[in-house]
Symmetry: C2
Subunit: 327 residues, 2 copies
């Protein structure tokens, strides 16, 4: 579409582009260029127009685009393909469709907006344009299916370290699927898998991060936050995305090479927000409290119960909540 071509031209230029030059480059009329610019503004891009100089994209560091991803991933060799989408139903569904069409991956889908984003247990995941990172990876790991849930832990490590590197915020992991800053959730992970029991067909690793959300509804303000709220200024999204997949590639390589989470356990426990915290375990067979003391090499949370017995809590069977808040 013309608007995408013009956006790419403005991004590449990084400065003013004359309307005449755009007309000539794309073989269209001035009116067509003007209309495309208007549509880009509707999508949230700030485009300055100046007599005799032309159009200029502002605040480009806050934009996501195919061009910004191309630049971020040019030097890495983990992702085979990356796709930016202005809008989609859900990036996890994008991955499933790509897998069904034979995509071998690793392939990353990043969307500016999801219209049907989902979190764990089928919950809705709000994914408005401009304020977040909504992305999913297609991976075909050589893992036994029963080991796949460890990929959620690997991802939590990568998201936490990526956010730390790109923003300096002290992000931490709330076992097993969330990343928190100062005890409030900034990111969630939804790992899905298609398997024939013997082997994994493919895995979908979905990541949602509240980046520039300015405020949250009052009823969730105590448990949810954004990177912008925590650092007091807007954050550029592309460097966060790049940092996350850099860490993911390294952690995943280590996990595959050793066939075990043991090599990542120490780093994980260092970043574990629940560690040495009192937790309430909402086991369907009976709720209990205790202290989270670490994780096992299978990725279970080790909880020292108040009766001094030690329980390895498996993701999926239970919910874990902090006694004094979310973590």
């Amino acid at each position: 579409m013309l608007k995408d071509d013009i956006l790419k031209a403005l991004l590449e230029a990084g400065d003013y582009c004359s309307g005449q030059a755009l007309c000539e480059r794309f073989h269209v009329t001035r009116t067509a260029v003007w209309k495309a610019v208007a549509r880009l503004r509707d999508e949230g891009y700030t485009i300055e127009a100046r007599q005799n100089r032309g159009y200029r994209l502002q605040n480009t560091e806050y934009l996501l685009s195919q061009a910004s991803l191309d630049e971020a991933f040019a030097a890495q060799n983990f992702l085979k393909r990356w796709v930016f989408l202005q809008q989609t139903d859900s990036t996890n569904l994008e991955v499933k469709r790509a897998a069904a069409a034979g995509d071998w991956g690793p392939t990353l889908f990043v969307a500016e907006e999801q219209t049907a984003g989902r979190g764990r247990r089928g919950r809705n995941w709000s994914s408005p344009p401009g304020s977040g990172i909504w992305m999913s990876l297609l991976l075909r790991p050589k893992l036994r299916p029963e080991r796949a849930s460890v990929l959620t832990l690997v991802t939590a490590l990568a998201v936490t370290d990526g956010i730390r590197e790109a923003t300096g915020l002290e992000a931490a992991i709330k076992w097993p699927n969330d990343v928190v800053v100062k005890g409030k959730k900034v990111a969630g992970i939804l790992t899905e898998m298609s398997t024939d029991m013997d082997r994994i067909e493919f895995v979908v690793i979905g990541i949602g991060i509240n980046v520039n959300t300015e405020s949250f509804p009052e009823e969730i303000q105590s448990v949810a936050t954004s990177l912008a709220i925590e650092q007091g200024k807007r954050a550029a999204r592309t460097p966060i995305i790049a940092a996350i997949w850099k860490h993911f590639a390294a952690y995943e390589r280590l996990f595959e090479a050793t066939g075990s989470f043991a090599a990542l356990k120490e780093r994980y426990e260092t970043l574990l927000a629940n560690r040495n915290r009192e937790v309430r375990v909402l086991d369907p067979d009976g709720e209990y409290t205790g202290t989270a003391i670490g994780i096992t090499e299978e990725g279970e949370l080790l909880v020292l119960r108040d009766d001094q017995s030690l329980t390895a809590v498996r993701s999926g069977e239970v919910s874990v909540r902090g006694i004094y808040g979310y973590v």
Copy 2:
């Protein structure tokens, strides 16, 4: 399509239908009826045409059709929907597409022919028209994902009991995915699952049965057979299908109600072809031999190794072969 309408009319009549009556019923010309009959003959149906009497379908008991499934499933209350397809790429793929489109199931797809049928580990599964049962079930069980592989055992039980009931042959289970008659494979099961680690999104249970296959390539004659070869005559497929899902519904209900395979363990071990046989376990960590003595409640094969140690063998990690043949 007209040919499907005419097939249904001939099936329902069970006797001669005059060409004139078919023309009037479907508001088409004699030529159109004649062409539809020719197409049905191309698909393998034997349709007799007699002057002054009309068309009659022969050997109807050997045919699969939507009408034959409708009749077979009219009185049951397990399947919510069943779909007959003359040809498809793969019934497992049909299920995945139906699930993606929101089908809640239990829904059964039965195909006369698969053009891209698959077995375990991505192997091709030959599925020519006329000779087999190629079918897949969409199920959304309330099971923890790590328990889903037990559904393969439940299915093996149902296929074995269904074949026994409908044909009288002494079918048996080759743990975990195959059904054998006199030590040779007649059926295979391919269970697939889509999960978000916490819960199962849906399960696909694919079943392939060699029913009226007349002969097998020489290189697999020692390990593969068909129901027709074993009983010395062609078998009607619809009663086998009906019997399998009758048994499946009963076993699955028991499994869900008790949350455990314990209630099915005894029947499974009775039907287990490997039981008390010497087996070779092709474990990636080292091959070993022993005697299969039964299964655990988690569905693992219990093998008494030659060094007298007892190992619970998990499906997916290993292959099990008989020492003196396939079982």
